[in-house]
Symmetry: C2
Subunit: 337 residues, 2 copies
């Protein structure tokens, strides 16, 4: 038996979630039986989409059950194995985050390449990076010379979108909420301009200065006033992949939306929502392309690492304050040797 702490989902929030919506408990994890493995999680992911899982009712992701452990993406190492295909020390990804150890059937886990840093599978090479790659390429369809605006540009998904935009030859403008993030976007990731939405004042004017040729693609992560400011200066045939609207997730009744939606008519613009789990068959293609850019040094990434399962909730809540640059991950234990 192995002792493991795990985070329970204790109650559904009405608006902004708090630490009181979670509770940590210690449980005994049994020994793995035949076909099973015992895994020690090394990193777990906290993601904005998990806010949706705190709600009851129809959604694209299964709601978390009150009184049960939360779950989500995690990467770890096999400790003991009853599955001949997995050996102690092997690295695996699962949907069994928010806990230190677990036992699962071996066939439900993905074995990972030990040459890749383990945490990268939660960010740049994980679902956030895949989301950015898919949404930009398949809905945004950027062409060289076009202007791409990315909101939440310093986040796990946005930072990948910014860099793919540059690789594809676009003028790229990112928006973020601190000077440090903006500096990272322009100095490290190669963005042509960055806008600090907290200090920019008139977002329309700030975008107009940063996008003298208008906006062809807007990769939407935030919602709210930024979308409206963008809609006023989209170019004909603009494309708007809707990836997230983090500014709206914690309102019981969402805020009023963009005044300038009708600008989409005269500009024949397209706006399309997408959910990355619909497109998992494309994951290997993403891994080959973005993994290649990563190895070639053409894609960089950053992580905001929070230590320990007792700070997992703090890390999750910090997403809504913009506490992260790049991917927010929680380290649950030491890196494997």
């Amino acid at each position: 038996m192995t002792k493991s702490r795990q985070v329970l989902f204790a109650s559904r929030p009405a608006a902004m979630p708090t630490a009181a919506n979670f509770r940590i408990e210690e449980v005994e994890v049994p020994e793995p039986g035949p076909g099973e493995v015992l895994v020690r999680n090394v990193y777990m992911s906290v993601d904005p989409y998990m806010r949706g899982r705190m709600r009851e009712g129809r959604s694209y992701a299964q709601p978390w059950e009150v009184g049960r452990p939360a779950d989500g993406r995690a990467v770890g190492v096999v400790v003991r194995s009853g599955d001949p295909r997995l050996a102690p020390g092997d690295r695996v990804a699962s949907m069994l985050g928010w806990r230190e150890h677990y036992v699962a059937r071996g066939e439900t886990l993905n074995k990972l390449d030990p040459a890749v840093p383990l945490s990268a599978y939660l960010g740049v090479l994980g679902i956030p990076g895949f989301t950015g790659w898919y949404g930009l390429k398949e809905i945004g369809k950027p062409k060289a010379g076009e202007t791409l605006v990315v909101s939440g540009a310093a986040g796990a998904t946005g930072s990948v979108v910014v860099q793919i935009g540059k690789i594809l030859g676009c003028r790229v403008v990112g928006t973020a909420g601190t000077e440090a993030k903006c500096a990272w976007l322009t100095k490290e990731l190669g963005a042509d301009a960055a806008i600090n939405y907290r200090t920019a004042g008139d977002l329309y004017e700030a975008l107009r200065r940063a996008c003298p040729n208008g906006i062809d693609v807007y990769f939407e992560n935030v919602g709210g006033p930024m979308l409206d400011a963008v809609l006023r200066q989209i170019n004909p045939l603009a494309r708007i992949p809707l990836c997230g609207m983090i500014s709206q997730y914690n309102f019981e009744v969402p805020e009023p939306g963009p005044r300038y939606l009708f600008s989409m008519i005269g500009n024949r613009a397209l706006m399309q929502g997408f959910i990355i789990s619909d497109h998992m068959p494309r994951y290997p293609e993403f891994l080959a392309e973005v993994g290649g850019w990563l190895k070639a040094g053409r894609i960089k990434y950053e992580e905001t690492i929070v230590e320990g399962i007792d700070r997992a909730v703090t890390a999750f809540l910090g997403l809504f304050q913009g506490d992260n640059t790049g991917k927010m991950v929680v380290r649950l234990g030491p890196e494997p040797a």
Copy 2:
């Protein structure tokens, strides 16, 4: 020389246009020279999109020039011809509406089929019908058994969309602003339900009752609260062709938009604006299909006919009050024999 009255565009309105933005003048129209024809307009079109032409600056349609005659679609008969391809009595369509007579080069006019009622070329078989057909089929992509909601359903475009939706096997729900229009939608055009947005109260509840299986396609003509109520009950993979947003055209600063735009993400919905002038090569295909349905009695149409050029402005302004059922046209003179 022929005397002709024409409507001048006199000044740009800030918000709701009024009669004071126009002025009628009488001019002398010269005799047609070689290659030219003198045409007497029989019907002229007034359309919501013309509100956009009253604005200065970048738009998909050329702004009207202050002090010059307004223009737009019209149908008439050739009076005298200097073009061997056109004979007196021939019926022609032009962009030279808002005037009783004009002289133009013959090759700039479209010769019309005398077997089709002349005014139909301004509505059901004209740009409004073509707009509905294209937007529904190419962006809405309705499938049999799906639920289609059409706003502005009793208008020139909406009424065509409703009927094509029924022909394609959809459950069709139309919205309009009077009981008479709603009765026309259900009793004459075959809509499964109609909602009077002025008296329905909670639009979300009204739509929920009318669309027990959610909404797959929303053909948008009006904007404002209807779009928001729709977004709260779209189905996965919903499609929203944006044709018009007449409720917003007369605001100097448009109203706040839909609160529930983020519903597009979880539902992977698509919203796309379009401008029918981009798609004129498809017009013959439309004419064949919808013209065939019209002859077969499968498509019906209605017109709201206003008499005389001195009431053209009244007819135009009436569009924003919903004065029309079906196509609003202005009769400028007697039907040809």
